[in-house]
Structures are given as structure tokens and as C-alpha cells.
Amino acid sequence: MIEQLRTFALLLGPKARGFLRLARTREHRHPLRLLFFIGLGLVFAFGIYLGSAWFLRQCLQVELVGMLIPRKMMSLVLLILVSILLISTTISSFSIFYLSDDLVLLFSTPVPLGPLYYARFLEMTLHASWMVVFFGLPVFLAYGAVYAAPAAYYLLVVLLFPAFILIPAALGAICAAVLTRLLSARRSRDLLIVMVLAGFVILYLVLRAMQPEKLLEEESFGTLVEFLQMFSAPESRYLPTLWMTEALYPTLLPRPVSGVLPALAIWTSAAALVAISGWVGTALYRNAYARAQEGRLRWRMSREGGKEHGRFLGGWLDRLGGLPGRLTGSLLVKDTRVFMRDTNQWLQLLLLGALAAVYVLNFIYLKVADFSWFTLYTVNHVLMGLVISGIAVRFVFPAVSLEGRAFWIVRSAPVRMGAFLHSKLLIHFLPLAALAVLLSVLSCSVIGVPLVFVAISVALMLAMTLGVCALGVGIGALHPRFTAENPAKIPTGIGGVVFMITSMSFVIIFLLASFYPTFILFRAPVRPENPIGRPFWFFTSLGIMALLGIGAAWIPMVLGRRKLQGLEE
């Protein structure tokens, strides 16, 4: 037993050291960046705390039913947390138990499976749950603050939360082991991600359609309480969320009731499930890992009898590669294929679609409010600019970094870095410009804008999108991260922050400069004698817009080109 514990600690050692040395790695060396993200996280957590506390106080002010809501809300929050934990632990299990690179080494050594399994289990649990805990705990702290809870409440939170997390973690690990044994780790994980993301998008659209902002209005609160009271969270006696609520909530009441039994139920269930997961996991681990390896090796393109499926698309893409200006065509074909074959990448298109739908929906709701169309039209541009910036940070900024370690191919080929960057710009500008035009036309038609202003809006959006894309490609080239394993991590560096600040500033200043000429045109029907207002301001505004547009499209590209030309491996 002691030997097994020693092996368990030994296996966790490299991971723990790696985590402690995180600040020393090149990507995290910048202290300001680290502080920025810690600060941002704390602000969010504090926001959740304040929001929860406000909500609880509002509930307690409503007579009769108000007292019942906090208990239901606690149960609901716990149900949400356990659902998120179940999904995140299952997805992490595929990666940590079956797809990690270091497993090749570990499986070739005489390490017993038990300690290896539990070391991975602990790593997976911490990896999958820290964020849920970080953003979930403020809700329970808010309960403590609003109810002026005794120390026993906080003690119970600290004692019960680890067990509460272990339950979904054990279930997630069992689920991953069985699925990997039947399918392959990679396919199961991708399938699960697709399902979860699709579910998330649907939920997002449904919630948005419910117009939750209306619930914040004073007069709607009573309706909300009634709504929540009617809403019955599944309260089966076998659910750990009920045990948690029954253990925690009574300690908040003026005359606390003992929650020992439900607390014991949580801990014994957690212990039993961890033991069962260990038993199932170790029994399946070696074979499931072998299956995961097969999945990795035989990740074939869809073929049947030597004939490739999707040949139509493949042939179409090949022809694009042969277009005049072949570098752009080749990069376009290559980038499209790589994008569409990476589940983590293309799945984000779903989110993008949902974002566009929600964006247009928002204007349908705003239209009923008492705003002039010109106000909505102006706000629309700011919002669309910020949306384009947000999308660009995820899709355009990583464009150069996504070449990855294979960038030597482009560097050793007879390709000018300027041409390479312009190709990247064109490839990313076209779809983003299409989205910008779509958003612009749809939102303008929802607002009911005259045709000439629709044309102005489209022109503004195209100019702004070009500037944002050039900033993304250029700043992305200035801060390349060719060794980043996960594309989603590329924008999280200091370069991503610089890009966000620069592109948002560009959008806001560009739109401020555009305001005067647009306003003058809006006013033109009532002041036909003076169609351009004050000529100095009119032309200065246009000049600033032109300068900003050219500067954003040119300067970062030149700087990025110089950076790439000067790169040395």
C-alpha cells in the first residue's frame, strides 16, 4: 500500500512541478499578463458574488414565496454545477487518460495500473473542476453573507465540495473508459464536444429569446419569483444535489437543522464511486489505451474501396489551389482543409452562427423600445465593430501562428513574407467581410434604415473589417506562437491582448470619425441647403477615417512582415 502511494506521488510529481514552474515558461513570463488574467478572473467571480447576493436579497423581500426561492435556487445552481462537471470531466478524461503524449513512456515502464489510474484521476479532476469551483463558490459565499451564516456553514462548504466534485469526476472517468473501449478516445471526445456545443447553442438561443434582461426590471420581479417557484428542479432523493442542499441550506436558517446524514451520503457516495471508477478504470485501462492508439493511427479520411468520399469538395479545393496567384490559392486550400478537419476549430462556426442569430434577434427586441432609428443605427455599428473584433481575435489573430512548427516550409520556399501575409489577410477578410455585410444588411433591415444608409453601413463595415483583419494578421505576425499546441490558446498571450485593445480602439475611433458625416446625411432632408454641414469638419472626419483605415491596413502588415523576415529558429 505504501509502495502504491509512493508511486502515486511519484507520478504526480512532474505534473505538480510543471504547474509550479508555469510562471517560468516563456509563454507566461510576462507578469503583467498573469496579473491581468488573475484580476479579470477575480472581477468576474466578484460580479457573480454581487449578482447572487442581490438576487437573494430581492427574494427575501418578497413575502411568502420569497423565502422558498433561495433553497430552490441553491438546488438549481448545484444541478447546473454538477452537469457542467460531468461534461467537463468526461471530456478531460479522454485527453488525460488516453490521449496524453507521456502515456507512451508510462505504459512502457513497470508502473502498476492502480497508482497510474488514480494519479490521472486526480489530475483530471483538478483540471476539469477548478474553473467551476472558482466561479461556483461565490454563489455559496453570497448565501453565507446574505443569511449571516455561522462558521459551520462555511466549514460544510469546504468539507463537502471536494466530495461533490468527486462524484461527477468518477462518473465521467467511468463513462470515458467504457466509450474508449467501445469506440476510440478521439472520436468519442469529438462526438461529445459536438453534442455539448450544439446543446449549448440551442440553450443560448432559447435563453436569449426569453429576454432575461426584462427580469431585472423592478415590476417583473414578482413574476420571476412566481416563475421560479413554479419551476421545479429535479429533486430525486438519489441526486447528490439534493443531499448538498439538505446539508448546506438548513445551517443558514435561524434554527439550524443537522445536515449530518446528507453530508455522510455525499462523502460515502463519492468514496464508493471513486472506488468503482478505479475498479472499472484499471480493468479497462490497458485495452482502452490500446484502442485509443489504434484510433490515433487509423484516423483515416473517409474512404470506401479506395475512392475518396467528398471528392467533389476535394476537387473543387484542388482547383482553387491552381488559381492564378497560386500562393493565395494554395494557402486558402490548405487553411480550409486544416480548419475543417480540426473539430475544435470548425465547431466554433456553430457558435458564430448562434452569435449572428442572437445579434439580429437583439435588434428585434430593441426596436420596440423608444429609440430613433439613427440612434440604433449608430449603436449597431459600434456593436458590429466590437463583434468583428471579437471574432477576429479568435480566427484572424492566430492565422500566422497556426502555421505552427511547419512554418519552416513557407520560410524555406520562394515566398515573400509580404505576399504570405497578404494571402492570409485575403483568406480571412473574405469570410469576415461576408459576415459583416450580412449582419449589417439584416440589422439595418430590422431597424428600418433607408437604403442609402444601408449602403453606407455596408461600406463602413467593409472598411472596418479590412482594418481589423489587417491588425489581426499583422499583430499576429508580430507575436507569433508557433509552438502553441491548442489553437484556442494562441490569442491568450500578450499579443492577443494588444490586438484586442488596438482593434477595439480602431473600431471606436473610426466610428467616432464617421459620426459627423453620417449625421449630416441623416439631417440632410431637413437642411437641404447645407448638405455637408461644416465643410472643415466634414472633410476632416473623412480624412481621419481614410488615414485610420490606411494606417490599420498597412502599418501592422509592414511590422509583421519585418518580424517574420527576421525570425530565426
Partner: protein
């Protein structure tokens, strides 16, 4: 084909390559030997134009690599020691991408890619994603990509790493034939001295960033005062501090 003149590369206070002079003739297989960290890869990257020299210059076919990077790169096929590729492309798609980057005609590129995939025994894997290839298969794919545009000069960093004996024979034959046909020159670095002995017309031995011997096998033997019986391995160890290995082994039990 390659003329390296007083080439120096420093990284801060560390000198990786110092005052290097080389001359590789058109149509020969030139071997670049040296222990780990001798500066071979750094030199090769400067020849290809991936790194800039601190001093000195490199000429390929009479053109300065720094002054005319695009023209010289058209002549070169580079094969690095680590096969980093676009893992989500298939073998054929990768070759067509390379053809696009080199501005080749699509139909001609398709034909040439097919020939090369057959030559490197990858035709069964043509439509498989590169991520499913073994190290040796990736290495063969990079070689196919390097030969796709019919380069005049092939620069290969450790060509035999990851190749099985069959693959190694294949690659050796291809490189020898390339030079024998008069259409190409091969500049290769290797740790495998048998490969150098078997393939290379001339070699240069690099030690701590400096060339310590250069020429054909006979010329190197004369340079180190060998009577003609010594194999390349012995000459290599004599030139690069083999006595240190003997000292390190003294008193060590395996």
C-alpha cells in the same frame, strides 16, 4: 554550387559557427559531419536562408542567399531533421500545397506528386492524413516534397533518421542517382559515418563550429597523417576528441 565564405554565426556570446569556408561542386554528394552541437544544422539553415549569418556569406549557384533569397530558394530542396508538417492534410494534398507555393502548374504537379509518392512507396497512404504517418513516412514525404520542384541543390539534415533499412537504401540510391545524372547536387549532414563513407564524394568535418578537415576520404587521411588503413569513424574520432570518450568510460560499469 555552394560557396561558403568566412561564415560566422553567434547567439549572444556563444559562437555556433566560426569563420567557415566550404566549396561544394555541382553534381557531387557532399557530406557534413560533426558531433552533436558542432554547428551543422545552423550552417545548413544559413545555406537555405532560414538563418542570417553574423558575418560572412553563402552563395548558391553564384547568388548570394541573403541578397537574393527567392531566386536561391527556387533552386533548393530542403529536408530538415524534424518532419514538422501540416498534420491535417493528406500526403497528396501536402504535395499539391508545396507545388502551389513553388508556383507549379497544377496538372504537372499532380503527375509529379504521383510519381514521387510511388517512388517513396507512399502511394497506399496518398489519401491518409499525415497525422497517421510514422516518423519514417513523414521523412519520406518531406523528401518527396523537396524533390517536387526538381531542385538543383538538395540540402538534407540527417537524411536517415527514422528510416527503415529499405527506406535508407531507397534514399541513398535516389540521392546518388540525382548527382550521377548531373541534374543535382546533394549537401547532407549525418551522424552515420557509414552513410557518409558510402555516399559522399567529399566530406567536411565540423568541430565546435570550425571545419577541422575537408576533402575526399584520401585527402582527409592525408590531412590527419593516416597511413591509409583507417576507416572514417577512426579519423572522425581522432579529429573530434574521441579520446574524451575513452576517458569518460574509464571506471564506469553498465
Amino acid at each position: 554550387m555552394i560557396k561558403v565564405e568566412n561564415l560566422t554565426k553567434r547567439f549572444g556570446s556563444f559562437t555556433a559557427v566560426e569563420d567557415l569556408n566550404l566549396h561544394v561542386r555541382r553534381g557531387e554528394v557532399f557530406g557534413f559531419l560533426g558531433p552533436n552541437g558542432a554547428g551543422k544544422t545552423t550552417t545548413m539553415k544559413m545555406i537555405v536562408g532560414l538563418m542570417r549569418p553574423t558575418a560572412g556569406r553563402v552563395r548558391v549557384a553564384g547568388m548570394d542567399v541573403q541578397a537574393e533569397p527567392l531566386r536561391t530558394r527556387r533552386l533548393i530542396g530542403y529536408i530538415p531533421d524534424h518532419p514538422f508538417l501540416y498534420e491535417k492534410l493528406s500526403g497528396q494534398e501536402f504535395l499539391l500545397f508545396i507545388a502551389g507555393v513553388y508556383g507549379m502548374n497544377l496538372n504537372a504537379a499532380r503527375r509529379r506528386a504521383g510519381e514521387l509518392l510511388r517512388l517513396f512507396e507512399l502511394e497506399k497512404w496518398t489519401n491518409e492524413l499525415i497525422e497517421s504517418y510514422s516518423h519514417g513516412m513523414k521523412q519520406r514525404l518531406i523528401m518527396a516534397a523537396a524533390l517536387l520542384h526538381r531542385p538543383e541543390l538538395v540540402v538534407v539534415d540527417e537524411p536517415m533518421v527514422g528510416l527503415d533499412p529499405r527506406g535508407a537504401v531507397l534514399v541513398k540510391t535516389i540521392f546518388k542517382n540525382l548527382c550521377a545524372s548531373g541534374s543535382g547536387t546533394v549537401f547532407l549532414s549525418t551522424h552515420t559515418l557509414e552513410v557518409a563513407e558510402e555516399m559522399c564524394d567529399r566530406v567536411a568535418i565540423l568541430h565546435r563550429g570550425r571545419v577541422v578537415a575537408q576533402g575526399s576520404m584520401d585527402e582527409i587521411r592525408r590531412q590527419v597523417g593516416d597511413d591509409g588503413s583507417g576507416r572514417l569513424q577512426e579519423l572522425f574520432l581522432r579529429l573530434t576528441g574521441g579520446a574524451d570518450v575513452t576517458r569518460a568510460l574509464q571506471g564506469f560499469e553498465v
